[in-house]
């Protein structure tokens, strides 16, 4: 098992390197500089001299290959560079935002799993009934809404009209503040999980070994408990792992809407202000998180499904 984990982790290394190179190339051709972003609001104009100094300090004057070399050397020593804007190490800038994003992503995935998986299960067990119909129409509808629109609606309804929950921000980091953004973010993966779970359960219900289980004289409950659940779990887990990436990506929108101090809002802010080291760092960290989660999912799947280790 340990070799399996190590192997999976090693496999992620080239991906990380490729991502690092890709985002370097992307952001070396982006128009605008951090210095130009500082006079973007037209309020206080920066004089050309300071802008030139800034560009020099941030290495904009060096040729691209020199910057790339520096960037790779830094990465090799686990250094993500220094933020143009905060003038602090990118690592510490990101570290401040990691926990809120983790909270949000985790909460929304929990929401998605707790609602979506049972919904899909029930829909499959009652397939072609009205329960199935209603839950799947709900699921597909949840997939068809623009996220910020949904978030805005939730905000209006639960904060303003009903007054149950705070409308914005991180507050003291407590659960009350987490609910609305997590739900806004979790609806789409919930819908997808419901659909996947339903499809997986339906597939497995028609599988030969489930018929065998029935032929053994097992009750439906035992069939579900002993045979169906574990088999469906592999597919559901894989979906969860892949959905995690989407959730972190979509968090960009939800965090911005709800003023949630996570990586997503940091990323959008940094793109707007051309704080390139932070942009590169955040994307790398997001990719890293995604790969870690998916390695974890793979390991879990391997624990559940003995076939995986050998393939």
């Amino acid at each position: 098992m340990l070799t399996f984990i190590v192997r999976r982790l090693l496999q992620t290394l080239p991906i990380i390197f490729a991502v690092a190179a890709l985002i370097f190339v992307l952001f070396s051709v982006i128009p605008g500089t951090f210095a130009s972003s500082m006079s973007e609001d037209g309020r206080s104009v920066l004089d050309p001299e300071i802008m030139a100094r800034m560009n020099k300090e941030f290495g904009y004057d060096d040729p691209v290959y020199v910057r790339f070399g520096k960037y790779i050397r830094q990465l090799a020593s686990f250094d993500l560079g220094t933020s143009f804007r905060t003038r602090q190490p990118v690592i510490s800038v990101i570290a401040d935002r990691l926990w809120p994003t983790a909270q949000l992503a985790f909460a929304s995935m929990v929401f998605a799993i707790v609602i979506g998986v049972p919904l899909g299960f029930i829909a499959a067990l009652r397939s072609d009934s009205w329960v199935d119909m209603v839950s799947m129409v709900t699921a597909v509808s949840g997939l068809s809404l623009p996220k910020f629109w949904l978030g805005l609606m939730l905000m209006y309804l639960f904060a303003l009209v009903l007054g149950w929950l705070p409308s914005f921000g991180y507050g003291d980091g407590s659960f009350r503040y987490l609910i609305l953004p997590a739900v806004a973010l979790g609806v789409a993966p919930m819908a997808l999980l419901a659909r996947t779970t339903r499809a997986a359960v339906l597939d497995i219900m028609n599988a030969d070994f489930v018929r065998t289980a029935r032929a053994k004289g097992m009750s439906e409950r035992r069939v579900v408990q002993w045979h169906l659940t574990r088999n469906a779990l592999v597919i559901v887990l894989t979906t969860i792992g892949l959905q995690f990436g989407t959730v972190i990506g979509q968090a960009v929108v939800v965090e911005k809407l709800f003023s949630w101090p996570g990586l997503g809002s940091l990323l959008v802010d940094s793109v707007t202000l051309r704080d390139i080291p932070v942009v590169q760092g955040s994307i790398l960290v997001i990719v890293l998180l995604f790969l870690l989660i998916n390695t974890l999912v793979d390991v879990l799947c391997a624990v559940i499904d003995p076939r995986i280790k050998y393939s």
Partner: protein
């Protein structure tokens, strides 16, 4: 229009007056908002020139001067008095002896010298450096040729002598928070970045990056009896729609409004009671690049000014959250000329001017714009049909703000629309049209007019304030006549505040920047305890 401004100022005065008439209540929390983006830069205000960061800095830091919102001019803050030499270049400040840093030490002359020297560290490119450069010897420090600013001398612990390179009012230079005075001993430590220490009315207590900054009352603040509230919490809410919900939900005490919400709040009987309006020193203009052939002709530029019905756009699209612009200088500028009338909406005249300039069939140009609702693509979209009527076709080139500021400086545009700061100092504002000002600074339209240059040079040389204003008015009129831009509007900043929040100041330089020590909340606030 002028009447409206007076009314607004009067309204602001009334608010100020009311605040003074009532006895300020001590205690409670002021729940302020930072609306410009979804984060603060960091806790070192020297690194940022953004309004967003100045919003928190005002709670914790103070500068040599401060902006007097009611009288609309810079005033001494950390000095008790100042004397000026006869040639107008040497300023001697008597510093406050009651200004205590949050770590308990009193401020002295060394702190100011240390701060200003730090800002001139050329390797750091602090944005405030451009203001310090007015002090003699500062540029040498920036270039690494000197260790100390020669024009800045400590006379004694509470006296400082400053020699300037030009005859200007240093108040306009030293009031912004990016020049906040730091304690020399503490600010060089690493811990300062996570726990800033200043002279402001509130002492730093908590910072959640991307979410909020909180500060507690500084008991030893130098203004007697102030600050009133126990605590100020500044929440970052960049989304206007989210701010709207939060405000209506009584989670925040004040919120900067956009045009859509301005209408809604004005129409609401309860919300309309808590609206503060100010004519800010921003002019929204469409810059016309003279290197693009049609725009090289003054008549074409004037034609554009005649062709667009700015009043209608302001009324319907900006929802009256703007004042019609005549020329460059804004309504609240001391050199604003009430005699000047804005270009009239007159498509026929525009057509005639175009024909005279050799474009009877019109022409097509590319208009660079951001998505800003008050001075971006929505405005352009409304102007397109108007220009179409006089034969001018428009292609929109959408960009981000960062890119706009770059293409404007590089001259890589045919026309752009932007909101530009035009104050508070009228001389500095008009300098953007001086031929000596490069395009990379702020002469985006490559304006060049000898008469204008002469007027401006005289204005900066004279010590007679009357003459200076007179010259600036004339210069402003030349800009009007030459029409290097389409003069669209001056911003009307609007802030909604809850009924329990008192003591807001009508700051024309940026309404969101407030002196928190003057604000207080009464017992009806949900956070009154």
């Amino acid at each position: 229009m002028w009447k409206k401004l007076i009314a607004t100022t009067a309204l602001a005065l009334v608010i100020g007056g009311v605040a003074e008439a009532q006895t300020p209540r001590k205690g409670g929390t002021i729940r302020f908002t930072a609306p410009y983006g979804s984060s603060f830069a960091n806790l070192d205000i020297h690194t940022s020139n953004r309004a967003q960061d100045e919003i928190w800095a005002k709670a914790i830091h103070r500068t040599l001067y401060n902006w007097d919102a009611v009288n609309n001019k810079p005033v001494l803050e950390l000095a008790k008095s100042v004397s000026v030499s006869s040639d107008g270049l040497v300023y001697t400040y008597k510093l406050r002896d009651d200004a205590i840093f949050h770590h308990g030490r009193a401020m002295n002359a060394d702190d100011i010298i240390w701060t200003f020297t730090r800002l001139m560290d050329g390797s750091k490119a602090y944005p405030g450096a451009r203001y310090i450069r007015i002090i003699k010897g500062a540029v040498e420090v920036e270039k690494g040729q000197a260790k100390e600013i020669s024009g800045l001398k400590k006379i004694d612990d509470h006296t400082i002598e400053m020699t300037l390179t030009e005859k200007v009012d240093p108040g306009y230079y030293f009031y912004q928070s990016m020049l906040s005075i730091y304690p020399a001993d503490e600010a060089s430590k690493d811990s300062f970045n996570s726990k800033p220490i200043g002279l402001g009315p509130y002492k730093f207590s908590e910072y959640v990056p991307g979410s909020r900054l909180a500060a507690e009352r500084w008991e030893k603040f130098y203004k007697p009896g102030m600050p009133y509230a126990d605590k100020v919490v500044i929440s970052i809410i960049g989304e206007a729609a989210a701010r709207d919900v939060a405000f209506r939900n009584k989670e925040i005490d004040a919120s900067i409004l956009g045009p859509a919400q301005y209408v809604a709040y004005k129409a609401d009987p309860a919300l309309s009671k808590g609206i503060l309006e100010v004519a800010e020193v921003y002019t929204r203009v469409m810059g016309l690049n003279p290197t693009f052939k049609p725009f090289a002709d003054k008549r074409v530029r004037q034609a554009i000014n005649h062709a667009i019905d700015a009043d209608l756009i302001i009324k319907r699209l900006n929802k009256e959250k703007a004042y019609r612009a005549t020329s460059w200088l804004p309504l609240s500028s001391p050199a604003y000329d009430t005699g000047l009338k804005p270009y009239a909406y007159d498509p026929e005249k525009a057509k005639k001017l175009l024909a005279e300039a050799g474009y009877p069939q019109g022409f097509e140009f590319e208009w660079t714009a951001t998505s800003n609702e008050s001075w971006g693509i929505p405005i352009v979209e409304a102007a397109i049909p108007m220009l179409e009527k006089v034969g001018i076709k428009v292609k929109i080139k959408p960009v981000e703000g960062t890119v706009l500021s770059e293409v404007a400086r590089k001259g890589e545009y045919q026309a752009f629309i932007w909101s530009l700061s035009t104050g508070p100092d009228p001389l500095a504002a008009l300098k953007c049209f001086h031929s000596a000002t490069p395009q990379t600074a702020c002469n985006y339209t490559l304006f060049k007019n000898p008469e204008f240059d002469k007027l401006l040079d005289e204005a900066s040389a004279t010590s007679d304030p009357e003459k200076r204003i007179e010259n600036l008015k004339k210069a402003n009129a030349i800009v009007y006549e030459e029409a290097p831009m389409w003069f669209f509007n001056y911003n009307k900043a609007v802030m909604a505040y809850q009924p329990w929040l008192k003591g807001l100041q009508p700051n024309a330089t940026e309404l969101a920047i407030q002196n928190y020590e003057e604000m207080w909340v009464d017992e009806s606030s949900p956070a009154s305890k």
